[in-house]
């Protein structure tokens, strides 16, 4: 029962985000601040994870290629497919649900428990718009982070293969080009845009409606991570069915 009420209030919250806009000059600076924290601040961890996971995918593929009839360029091919289709868009988003999501929940939640949201509210500000809208806009840049992750993942795979002597540079690149379907990149892009919206709004919901004190802020961050990842996985399943199947 409670879950239905929560889903209902989530959609009501979304509606209020787009009512009565905050003054543009104020909103603009909030958006830039969120871009800095949510997008720029995530590039480091995205780079490290993508690069090494790309490397591992290449190594694993190579180690499992025991049949001499299968060409070595499969390494490049497999790295490209797994990074572009799932790793960068989906699994990176789950990692972001931990990083960006818990930041959003705890920062909005802290504002709730310290009455900062009440203070904004009594000044006559639409706090839904003021707090959540800038995050939605900032995360519109998130697909670019994912493209960056795709490049680094594939680059990581390339370096692991060539430096580790798994295949030659030419063979890896040949693998990257086999059966390349540009539509797959579009599919990944569409997914990522949806995920960015979920990443901005689900954690905001958990922070905004928080009740209690500092302990609840911690708990809400965890709950928000769980829900954001579950919803991302479900949406991923649905969209893959719709677009690719």
């Amino acid at each position: 029962m409670k879950i239905i009420v929560n889903i209902g209030s989530y959609f009501l919250m979304l509606q209020k985000v787009f009512e009565k806009f905050t003054k543009w000059s104020v909103l603009k600076s909030l958006i830039f601040k969120d871009i800095e924290v949510l997008i720029i601040g995530s590039i480091g961890i995205v780079s490290v994870i993508s690069f090494f996971v790309g490397g591992v995918v290449a190594i694993q593929t190579a180690l499992n290629l025991t049949n001499p009839l299968i060409p070595r360029n499969l390494i490049g091919y497999a790295t490209r497919q797994s990074i572009i289709l799932e790793f960068a868009p989906t699994f990176m988003s789950i990692i972001m649900a931990g990083k960006v999501g818990s930041y959003i929940t705890s920062s909005i939640g802290t504002m709730r428990v310290t009455e900062q949201i009440d203070a904004l509210e009594v000044m006559g500000i639409n706090t839904y718009n003021y707090l959540i809208f800038p995050k939605i806009i900032a995360l519109l840049l998130y697909p670019f982070v994912i493209i960056f992750s795709m490049f680094l993942g594939i680059f990581g795979g390339y370096l692991a293969s060539v430096l580790g002597g798994l295949c030659s540079s030419a063979v890896f690149i040949e693998g990257l080009q086999i059966d390349f379907i540009p539509y797959h990149v579009q599919y990944a892009f569409i997914k990522t845009i949806l995920f960015s919206f979920l990443l901005a709004t689900i954690p905001s919901f958990h922070g905004y409606y928080l009740k209690g004190g500092a302990l609840q802020v911690g708990k809400a961050s965890t709950t928000s991570f769980v829900w954001t990842s579950v919803v991302i996985i479900l949406v991923n399943f649905l969209i893959t069915q719709l677009i690719l199947a």
């Binding site: 104020v26 601040k33 310290t114 009455e115 900062q116 009440d118 009594v122 000044m123 006559g124």
Partner: protein, 253 residues
Amino acid sequence: MIVVKNISKSFDETTVLNGVSAFFEKGKTNLIIGQSGSGKTVLLKCLLGLHTPEAGKIFFGDNSLTDMNEKKRRLLRQKMGIVFQGSALFDSMNVEENIMFPMRMFTTKNDDEILDRVNEVIDRVNLTNSNSKMPSELSGGMQKRVAIARAIVMNPNFLFCDEPNSGLDPKTSILIDNLIQEITKEYNITTVVNTHDMNSVMEIGENIIFLQNGKKEWEGSNKDIFKTDNKPFIDFVYSSEILKKARKALKES
């Protein structure tokens, strides 16, 4: 002037306010006092429109808050200044930005004009030279001063303070209380202060309502306190055994 008529408010099954009426006068420091949990904050948040009472009415001058549409309510709120219990400073902004915030939001003044006014109120609350400090770098008393400055920067007609001296030492508390009272007189505004601190009650209690279990049990001014025979109020005022004995001795002599 604010008139509260018979308001009731409950959460789920528990009644927090039960038919409370009050009259908060202009140019005076009006106090809502009572133990923790007696409903002071809930009453204050009803006045702010953050809670909607199930019954009763609240008038600001001639206008009923409970019957106002959203737009009128927003305009009224721009005439209110609020000091929250934990100060509620925006912790991503420094002192100056915190105080500028309502003006940036709701006036068309440029940054220079805004800054002039901000410095004026910063001086008024005796915080000169703290413009660029962050809230986390300030002591509790200084945070309260910033919160007061932010509350008065827009020249409000109404000032609300929720336990302005919670967490402060007695001496700083009295300084903050006096500041609130001076501002009330200077700007001739209607000020409502929540407190459970007897020092504040004696110091600035020009018009007091005493809440217990969501009901108004007593009202009067700090001059009436020693004359009253109201049992719950006496229990609140003479909370310690020593004070009770002192009162008894005083009565017998």
